[in-house]
Amino acid sequence: MKMLPNLNPTFIILILGIVIFIFVMFLPAFLELKKPKDAGPKMIMDYNFSANFAMKEIPITDLEETHGFDQTLVKRIIDAVSVLPNLEV
């Protein structure tokens, strides 16, 4: 009486292949769990007190509105200055 089924070697290879395939598909997940490179937590955006204080307390001069400079005039000045050599040592 046949107790064991007749398992074709090809069939066994295929079973192994599919098992290995599924293992490979889950492998990145297992790797990340074992040796996490980004375990978190996500940094929550928090109130940056110093940056906001600086923005409020240090005024940024508006050349056009505060000093009444015409934008086209400012551009001409910038173009003229840009051809001067850099004197930084």
Binding site: M25, F26, P28, A29, L31, E32, L33, P36, K37, D38, A39, G40, P41, K42, M43, I44, M45, D46, Y47, N52
Partner: protein
Amino acid sequence: MIAEILKALFILLTVLMIAYLGRHYIFTLTVLKNSQKRKKDANAENIVYQPFVSILIPARNEERVIGRILQRMTKLTYPKDKTQIIVINDGSTDNTGIIAEEYAKVQSHITVVHRNKEEAGNGKAAALNAGFKYAKGEIVFCFDADYYPQRNILEKLVKEFTDPKVGAVQGRVVVLNEPQNMVTRLVTLERIGGYRVDQKARDSLGLIPQFGGTVGGLRRSLLECLGGWDESILAEDTDLTFRVYLAGYRIRYVYDAECYEEAVESWRAYWRQRYRWAKGHMQCAFKYMFKILKSGNLTLKEKIDGSLLLNVYFMPIFVLFSWIIGIPLFLSHPPQWLSISWAFMPIFLYSFVGNFAPFFEVGIGAYLDGRNRALWLIPLLIFAFLYNIPICTKALLDLAVSKITRKKNNYWAKTYHSGNGNTYIIN
């Protein structure tokens, strides 16, 4: 005859699952499209509207975390003279009350309400109602004891109330103890899908963002009209969500108002928490399903989204059911459409996890958050989904039994917080 009935059922369930899949797919596309338009958010510090606010913090045996949130509350940038913090010590048997009182002694805007053993332990809704009696603020916020908010979170949430149609607001929840173990990392993925994509899309599309019961606030006048929190419902947040909409108000999701939470750390705790959510959500489904369809205060798309939202915790059960009836149908020389639907079944399986964010919502959410390595964990969500099937099934069965026997069983299984999140806070 039986085969025909099973086929009809299978078609109905497949159509339902495709509807949910389509909904989540639209949400993902919406968030992707909106992420490419860099919208400049209004500077929270420039708002003029700063009403007096009350913050309710219900706490039952939270000695490991209550100090952390109260310490953080003292660091909030919202003016202290416009803030009232009410800690509701819900019959704690540990040092929660003592720790809270220590803070109340040095901070005049912190009050502690102690509930005695007879009235305590009946759930979060009862605790919140007890604290609400002492609230004087125009806006009432709720934070769970294990939470750790941004310092300017109140400004971000409060500014939405300048729109008179807004009845409630909801902020984003971020998991603090994510690195703890596999459970916390999977819960983080669920939260990313739920808050980074799902809630954001629902807000952008003018649908129904859910009030989560924490990191959120409501107008005090509205809450008084609604009669506070319903103590007979386990998901008091879902219940309030629909009552706000039925009253003609809207909920806004404020994506950049972020707050840390401590996620559950074991599969057992996951079961208890999700069982409570599932049962409570199902209670709301039975309570509000027809009301929202008949309501004149909701638009058509809100009614559709509301119906899908209410029934979301039935989906794992439907997927299991369609899988069970699909097997004999598939093996009995099925028509082509059936074998194709059957082949499609696992996509449905992978689409209903935890907060019911499908794998593509989780993936896009993690990508947009810059969490590249967290993407590697997405395949593991299948285990969380499979675990949700018995959770939701048990919740429905227990609800059915209590309806039939008319014995109310609204036991509130409290989530234990270990305080391990303290390790991960970067000051």
